[in-house]
């Protein structure tokens, strides 16, 4: 039973058809769409690279790219530090470990929309509890509506809050596979806690760290609701990220060609970040296929 029979082709067909229809073909046609002037009430018209030239000359696009770059890096490395710290904490001794893990997992179940609800409530001017507390100790309020840097910081905090469970779980699972004998042997050799971490645990979980980083880089770039429901990209388009820029061009300005050019840039960027992982996976799969 080692040769593929027609029944087996039928079995892989549904998933492959869905992927082709919903993701692969649309992603390819995106390239075509990005070369057209395409808006409501007009026949699409081939314009070559005009859409790309437009976004390259658009200050809002550069602003969105810069914001995305900064926020994604803050989010990804913030989560890594927090997730790693939590994983080290929980993998050692903590009271009620199962309950602690459950509590740390909970934000994964929260929709971005509700996360925005929670944080906007705590950050209401004057009366939200965080701003009230800041005022009470004589500090400035957090004004996400007026100050772009603050708004991006709040969005980053929300993203970290929501996605740390992912990084935490991957690193926690990896730490649990570190052999106790190795740790004990290092201790017998006189290694302190930091040295055990640096030379034993860290080295063994590097692959898991890289996987967590890669997946979060790819997914953090999709940041949308946190910004859209917080500031809609304002004031004056100062807090837009790439997904918000794309959404506005397509569904507010109806410039689908410009949006497609933005989307194609995001797609190429995602694949470029994923390239080392994809190459490695491809090699391993070809090797295993023999």
């Amino acid at each position: 039973m080692h040769r593929l029979r027609p029944a087996h082709y039928l079995m892989i067909a549904p998933a492959q058809l869905m992927l082709a229809a919903v993701i692969v073909l649309p992603a390819i046609s995106l390239l075509w769409l990005s070369l057209e002037r395409y808006t409501y009430g007009r026949a699409p018209e081939f314009v070559g690279l005009a859409n790309y030239l437009f976004i390259l000359g658009d200050r809002a696009f550069w602003r969105a790219s810069f914001n995305t770059f900064v926020v994604v890096n803050i989010v990804v490395y913030g989560e890594l530090l927090l997730g790693l710290g939590l994983a080290l904490l929980v993998a050692g001794w903590v009271p009620f470990r199962r309950l602690v893990v459950s509590a740390l997992l909970a934000p994964y179940a929260i929709t971005e929309v509700s996360a925005v609800v929670m944080w906007r409530y705590m950050l209401e001017p004057d009366i939200g509890m965080i701003n009230y507390a800041l005022m009470a100790i004589g500090l400035d309020q957090i004004d996400y509506g007026g100050d772009p840097v603050t708004a991006l910081g709040v969005a980053a905090a929300m993203a970290i809050w929501m996605h740390t469970p992912f990084t935490f779980l991957i690193l926690y699972a990896a730490l649990l596979t570190v052999p106790v004998e190795l740790v004990e042997a290092a201790k017998v050799d006189g290694a302190g806690a930091w040295q055990v971490f640096r030379h034993v645990k860290f080295r063994l979980i590097v692959p898991a760290i890289l996987i967590a980083l890669l997946f979060r880089y790819i997914t953090a770039m999709r940041l949308f609701a946190e910004i859209w429901l917080l500031t809609e990209g304002g004031p004056a388009r100062m807090t837009e990220v790439l997904a918000v820029y794309l959404y506005r061009q397509a569904f507010k300005y109806h410039e689908f060609g410009v949006a497609a050019a933005t989307g194609f840039a995001m797609l190429v960027l995602s694949l470029a970040i994923a390239m080392p992982y994809l190459v490695q996976m491809y090699r391993r799969m070809v090797r295993d296929a023999v």
């Binding site: 892989i12 229809a21 459950s102 509700s114």
Partner: protein, 276 residues
């Protein structure tokens, strides 16, 4: 491995801080949804109060549609989960048991696809969806959500099915079982944990998804997160109590589910990403 009492105290304190960071915003929304309206912004916040259902009643009166939107979410979530699990089990079985150049290609395709930003497919899909007249339908959301999780789910199913000894299948085959019976009687029962692990991710995603719902629904297929965002964005000022009531109804079931399904989340992550 016993550490000193001081070290234990520090660890317990850090764990408590981590739990507060994680849970405080969630508990805040849930508890505040039962607070009287004038106490929602009392400072300092108090967690001692006599609970009221006034906000839930007002939600029922002012946004009666919210409950049909919750039903939409439920339909779409169940549909997407079933479609994902069915297609992933079929594909996962073939990928677990057979090797060929074609399968290497399809498997690699599934990895590449996971790297693409979902937002970009909305642009080409938008005109196609209107042309097919499936805008604002449950079916559209079901297919989109399932597609974005079918590769992870297939990967998880492949990992779980690989652990089932081939001899069991061969024995069933000798007893005269066909492929369909082997799948239903041998593979499916023995990979039940894989089915749960594969379900958790698409289920949580479909219940919470916002962006595709924003683009592709207007009225009849609108899901709960979209309506919560509308309650948040009303021009006459946010009605926080009502908003908390809606958010609580949306988040409680899924938080309970995730906590209950904790070990499947871990198993699925391990099978789906780390081992690749």
């Amino acid at each position: 491995m016993r550490s000193s009492l001081a070290a234990q105290a520090v660890r317990a304190l850090l764990a408590a801080l981590a739990v507060v960071w994680s849970m405080f915003p969630i508990l805040l929304v849930v508890l505040s949804s039962f607070k009287e309206g004038h106490r929602i912004f009392e400072t300092p916040p108090s967690f001692v109060f006599s609970p009221t259902l006034e906000h839930y009643v007002r939600l029922w009166e002012k946004w009666p549609d919210f409950f049909s939107n919750m039903a939409n979410s439920l339909i779409v979530t169940i549909g997407a989960t079933l479609l994902t699990v069915a297609t992933a089990t079929l594909g996962g079985y073939v990928h677990a048991r057979y090797r060929s150049r074609l399968l290497t290609g399809t498997a690699f395709m599934m990895i590449v696809v996971r790297m693409l930003p979902p937002i970009v497919v909305t642009l080409p899909l938008f005109p196609a969806v209107n042309w097919l007249r499936i805008h604002d339908t449950h079916l559209l959301l079901v297919v989109i959500y399932a597609t974005f999780f079918v590769s992870l789910a297939t990967w998880i199913m492949k990992a779980f099915i690989e652990r089932i000894p081939r001899e069991l299948e061969e024995a069933a085959f000798v007893d005269g079982a066909g492929l369909r019976q082997i799948l239903l009687r041998v593979i499916l029962p023995l990979s039940a944990n894989g089915v749960f692990a594969a379900s958790v991710f698409v289920l949580v995603y479909s219940w919470n998804e916002y962006f595709f719902a924003l683009i592709f629904t207007t009225r009849s297929a609108k899901t709960a997160p979209l309506v919560i965002s509308e309650i948040l964005s009303t021009v006459e000022g946010v009605d926080w109590g009502l908003l908390f009531a809606a958010a609580t109804l949306q988040l409680l079931p899924i938080v309970v589910f995730v906590v209950a399904a904790q070990r499947y989340v871990v198993a699925g992550l391990a099978a789906g990403s780390v081992k690749g």
